[in-house]
């Protein structure tokens, strides 16, 4: 049943990506607006795809790898869209949409999960997971923005001005967008983690929790808070802060993959 939504989502994201690319190349406002509209349309279809899948499997979308990746893609698109509206800047859409598309398609191709459901459930748990994935997607966005910053900064510094330099957002704006994204990530991470500890408390009578995920989460929180502080108030602003942001994302990546799969008994796909 959700195959229709899959096709619709891929088509909308794909077209949106093509239009964002065209916008980056031509700078035509109408093309940019259409790209945004298609992205929003794609998100609606993606939402229904997630909903249909959850109803079909009688579970939340983040219960398995597929749902988790799909939700990550959706929240990445949502975070990007929020930044696009807030900063009134569409030029990076062409560089974000491929990630959204890849996560959505990969989620569709991912194998079905055979693990039993967790004991945690309910609204607070749903919020814990959703906010954590939102934080990951916001950090992913700041990673992409920081990479763009570093490339553009290098081109400008080296006087290697190519066409693309005139199309991309100014360095200052890229920094601001990256910081906004990290701020979204930090806030949702903070709330999400706090909600997670509620469940630790509730389930502590049944399990002993020595989950390495806590240490990684704390490390992530500190790393991004340090980035946020350095990028705004000290001599690290600019390329150094962007490099730190890129490095921080490596921790996110490890937390989302290696730590979840091999070291964390209570965190599987979030």
């Amino acid at each position: 049943m959700h195959y229709g939504f899959f096709i619709l989502t891929v088509a909308a994201y794909g077209l949106s990506f093509a239009l964002y690319l065209l916008f980056l190349n031509t700078g035509k406002a109408l093309t940019g607006r259409l790209a945004t509209l298609l992205l929003a349309g794609g998100m609606v279809a993606h939402y229904f795809a997630l909903l249909a899948r959850s109803r079909g499997l009688h579970t939340v979308p983040y219960h398995d790898l597929s749902g988790s990746m799909s939700l990550f893609g959706w929240l990445l698109a949502l975070t990007y869209l929020a930044l696009e509206f807030y900063h009134r800047q569409r030029s990076v859409g062409a560089l974000v949409l491929p990630f959204v598309l890849v996560f959505f398609v990969a989620a569709h191709l991912a194998p079905a999960d055979r693990l039993s459901p967790t004991e945690a459930h309910g609204t607070s748990f749903a919020l814990h997971v959703t906010l954590s994935i939102l934080a990951y997607s916001a950090f992913a966005l700041s990673f992409v923005l920081s990479l763009i910053f570093l490339v553009e900064e290098r081109l400008l510094h080296g006087h290697k001005l190519r066409d693309v330099v005139w199309r991309l957002p100014p360095l200052d704006l890229l920094e601001q967008m990256s910081q906004s994204s990290v701020l979204i990530g930090l806030v949702s991470f903070g709330i999400g983690t706090a909600l997670g500890f509620l469940w630790v408390d509730r389930l502590s009578h049944k399990y002993s929790f020595y989950d390495p995920k806590y240490a990684v989460t704390l490390l992530l929180f500190v790393s991004y808070a340090v980035y946020f502080r350095l990028a705004r108030t000290t001599g690290w602003r600019g390329a150094r802060a962007s490099k730190l942001c890129v490095l921080n994302f490596l921790i996110v990546f490890l937390s989302f993959t290696v730590v979840n799969f091999y070291f964390s008994p209570s965190h599987r796909f979030f």
């Binding site: 400008l156 510094h157 360095l171």
Partner: protein
């Protein structure tokens, strides 16, 4: 309904001639009035910019016959001998005149390819002429078309997208770093022509704060006052450098004015906020080692000239696309013109046929005496219907003709074959 254009521009006339033949707004109004009152033109519009003076018009007679009269008028109006003026003037008629104007509005005929100002100048010239009542249906349509061409070329091509002067390239680069400049400060070292050009660009792009330093304090004061900036004392680097996000230097000096350690201190004082430096001096004013500092972007004259050259090539590559838009609109205008002409020709033809029919009946009146008045009226009506029927099919075919060239040729042929032609020799 022909169009004539007489004018000169930067390609055909040296600046000494161009400045003598340029029109002030008042002169343009007066010239328009005189051209119409003398009966040289029925509709008229004067377009005068620093690089061109052109008179567009719709003549009552053949445009080829009107052109010499327009040349003489320009010679007389500006008191420039026709022998001096004649060699610089160009004359374009109908299609060529339309094509020329559309290229002008697109910025394709400008000294600086794709410059944006020309479209505003065309718009202003049209507004003045329209308000004066000097334009009519033809020039209204023509200039509305020209404005549309200008807008489309600017929005659909990159002809005007990139800066073409060192000053504007530098300021646009600063925007690549800071975004809009309305929250940033610029420090300009030197008070010469280049500094003035950069200041004009910075002001145009909305720089929030402008600081000027020059060895001659008097000139610094004057330049700062002229552009709404602040003059600082030459050599007060500790105060001035940390304030600026953009520093432009164009002073005559043998040794660099800004050294690495000065900028290092300035960067520390400004918390490593990005700093963009334009070194427009020869010899260079800023120590090249400054470019190695963290978050400092240093561009000298050669770097900026390279950008301008790249941009010029990029603009030139857009010419075919812009020409395509021009040609499309020339076609549209000529199609409209041919349709209007067709209506006029058919009307003339119809009227001529009625005259012929009336003359025919008058000449044959003796042979028709046996007919009553009512019969004769009926006969005339039948003949009119027959003539109308004869015209109907060719008129419909002409109206529906898709091939513009063929349509124009057929309208011309119709006029040549059946009407007393007042057109081209």
């Amino acid at each position: 309904m022909e169009i004539v254009l007489v004018g000169l521009n930067h390609r055909t006339a040296p600046v000494e001639v161009r400045e003598r033949v340029s029109f002030t707004a008042e002169q343009a109004r007066r010239a328009s009035e005189e051209l119409r009152s003398r009966g040289l033109l029925e509709e008229t519009l004067v377009l005068s910019t620093c690089n061109r003076s052109e008179v567009y018009g719709v003549p009552p007679e053949s445009s080829h016959e009107t052109a010499p009269g327009l040349s003489n008028f320009l010679s007389e109006f500006h008191s420039v001998h026709i022998d001096v003026l004649g060699v610089s003037l160009y004359h374009h008629y109908d299609r060529e005149a339309v094509h020329h104007l559309f290229r002008v509005a697109a910025g394709l005929d400008s000294m600086m390819l794709g410059e944006a100002e020309i479209l505003g100048q065309v718009r202003e010239a049209y507004r003045v002429a329209h308000e004066q009542g000097a334009t009519g249906p033809v020039l209204n349509r023509l200039f509305q078309g020209a404005l549309e061409v200008g807008k489309r070329v600017r929005s659909e091509t990159e002809l005007g997208a990139r800066p073409m002067s060192v000053a504007s390239a530098g300021v646009r680069l600063a925007e690549r770093i800071f975004g809009k400049l309305h929250k940033h400060a610029a420090l300009v070292l030197g008070a010469g022509t280049i500094s003035e050009q950069v200041i004009a660009q910075l002001r145009d792009r909305g720089i929030a704060r402008l600081l000027v330093m020059n060895r001659s304090q008097e000139r610094a004061d004057g330049l700062a006052k002229q552009h709404g900036g602040e003059a600082l004392r030459w050599g007060d680097w500790e105060r001035a450098l940390p304030l600026a996000d953009v520093i432009v230097s164009s002073v005559a000096t043998e040794e660099p004015v800004l050294l690495r350690d000065m900028l290092e201190r300035a960067m520390a004082a400004r918390g490593n906020h990005a700093l963009f430096l334009m070194d427009l001096g020869l010899p260079r004013n800023i120590d090249a080692a400054v470019g190695k500092l963290y978050n400092v972007y240093l561009y000298n004259m050669d770097d900026l000239s390279d950008i301008v050259e790249q941009n010029r090539r990029a603009r030139e590559s857009e010419i075919p696309k812009a020409d395509g838009i021009v040609d499309e609109h020339v076609g549209k205008f000529l199609s409209w013109q041919a349709s209007v002409e067709l209506v006029g020709v058919l009307e003339e033809l119809r009227s001529k046929m009625r005259e012929e029919r009336a003359e025919f009946i008058r000449s044959r009146v003796d042979t028709l005496r046996h007919l009553s008045e009512a019969d004769r009226a009926h006969l005339e009506k039948l003949m009119d219907e027959m003539l109308e029927g004869l015209l109907l099919a060719p008129a419909q075919r002409l109206r529906g003709e898709k091939d513009l060239r063929r349509k124009i040729q057929n309208v011309e042929a119709l006029r040549d074959l059946f009407l007393a032609r007042r057109g081209k020799p």
